[in-house]
Symmetry: C2
Subunit: 158 residues, 2 copies
DNA sequence: ATAAAACCTTCCAGTTGCTGCAAGGTCAAC
DNA sequence: GTTGACCTTGCAGCAACTGGAAGGTTTTAT
C-alpha cells in the first residue's frame, strides 16, 4: 500500500508517517519504480504501536526505547515496567496540578457575573491583585521610590 | 531596576522578560545611557500579571487579549468571563483524558511484574495487541494478502 | 488526446514558549 | 588592570508535528 492508504488505515497524516520514518520509528519503506513509498502490514503494525504509545503520552524517544527493548531478547522486563511507572507518576502529577488549576479558575469565574465594563471586571481585578500578591516586594509607592532613587543616583533625566 | 533585578523580583529568567517584551506583552523598557533596559514598578506589575496568567495555563495570545480588554473600558466583562470559561472547559477535558490515560497505564503496569525477558513482557505484548485492535482492518494474514496482491497486480485503490 | 484530479516526492518554514549559546559591551571591585 | 558579574543582540534548538512550494506520476473525465 502507498502512504495515503497507510495513513487512512492507521488514522494519521501522511506527514506524520514520513516524520516517523525520518526519526527512525518506522522501518524504511520500499519504493515503487517511480519512487513512491510502499508499505506492508508490518509497517502498519509498527505505526499503530507508535500511535498507541503516543496516545498514552509517551515521547518519541521513550517509544524508541521500548522498540529497542522489544528487539532485545536479553533485556529484562524491569526496564519496561520502569518506563511505564514513570509515565504513571508523570500523569499523576499533571492531574493534581490540573485540579488545582481548575479550582483557581472556578474561583476566578465566580468573581464576575454581571455585565459591567471590563475596567470593573472582578476577574481582571482579581488577576491583578493575585499578581501583586505574588510579588510581595512591590507596591506602587515603593516603585516610585525606586524610580526616584535611580534618577537621583544617576544624576540625569532621560 | 535592571533586567536581572526584575527577573529576581518576579521569579523568572531574563530571557523570558526579553521574550515577552518582544512579543508585546510588556511595555518597552527605557534604556540607560549604555543601552541597558531600565524597568519600573509598572513593568513588574505587568510581568506578574503575565506570569500569573501563564501559571493558569493561558497562552500568550490569550493573555494579550486580556490586556487589551483591560485597556478598553468600553468592552463588557462578558468577554473576560468567556475566556475564563473556555479555560475551565479545556482543563476539564484534559483532566478527563488524563484519568483515562492513568487507568490504561495502570492496567498496563499490572500486565508485568516478574523478571522475564522483554520478549516475554506482558506490557509489550499488551501494547502490540492494543495496536492491532486499534486498527481493525489489519491482520497478519490480510497483510500477506495485500502484499501478494500488490506484487501480482501492483493494484491501486480509490 | 488532453486536461484535471488525486496521488506522490523533497525540502523548508512555522508553530509555542521559551532556553542556551556566542560574541561582545559595561561597570564596580580588588 | 583585570577579574567577575552584569548587560546587549542575534541565532539555534527543543517536541512533534503541520503546511506550503514546486514538482513528478498516475488515474479518470471530457
Amino acid at each position: 500500500m502507498l502512504i495515503g492508504e497507510l495513513a487512512k488505515q492507521a488514522g494519521c497524516e501522511t506527514g506524520t508517517i514520513r516524520y516517523y520514518e525520518q526519526e527512525g520509528l518506522l522501518e524504511k519503506a520500499g519504493r515503487t519504480e517511480s519512487g513512491y513509498r510502499r508499505y506492508t502490514g508490518r509497517h502498519l503494525g509498527q505505526l499503530n504501536f507508535v500511535l498507541h504509545c503516543r496516545s498514552l503520552g509517551m515521547t518519541l524517544s521513550e517509544i524508541k526505547t521500548l522498540q529497542n527493548l522489544q528487539n532485545d531478547a536479553i533485556t529484562s522486563c524491569a526496564e519496561v515496567s520502569e518506563l511505564i511507572e514513570r509515565q504513571i507518576e508523570r500523569i499523576h502529577r499533571q492531574i493534581e496540578a490540573m485540579h488545582a488549576l481548575e479550582a483557581q479558575l472556578t474561583t476566578l469565574r465566580n468573581c464576575c457575573r454581571e455585565n459591567v465594563p471590563a475596567s470593573e471586571c472582578g476577574i481582571l481585578k482579581s488577576l491583578l491583585v493575585s499578581s501583586a500578591i505574588s510579588s510581595p516586594h512591590w507596591t506602587p509607592d515603593a516603585a516610585e521610590e525606586v524610580e526616584s532613587a535611580e534618577r537621583r543616583k544617576k544624576g540625569r533625566k532621560k
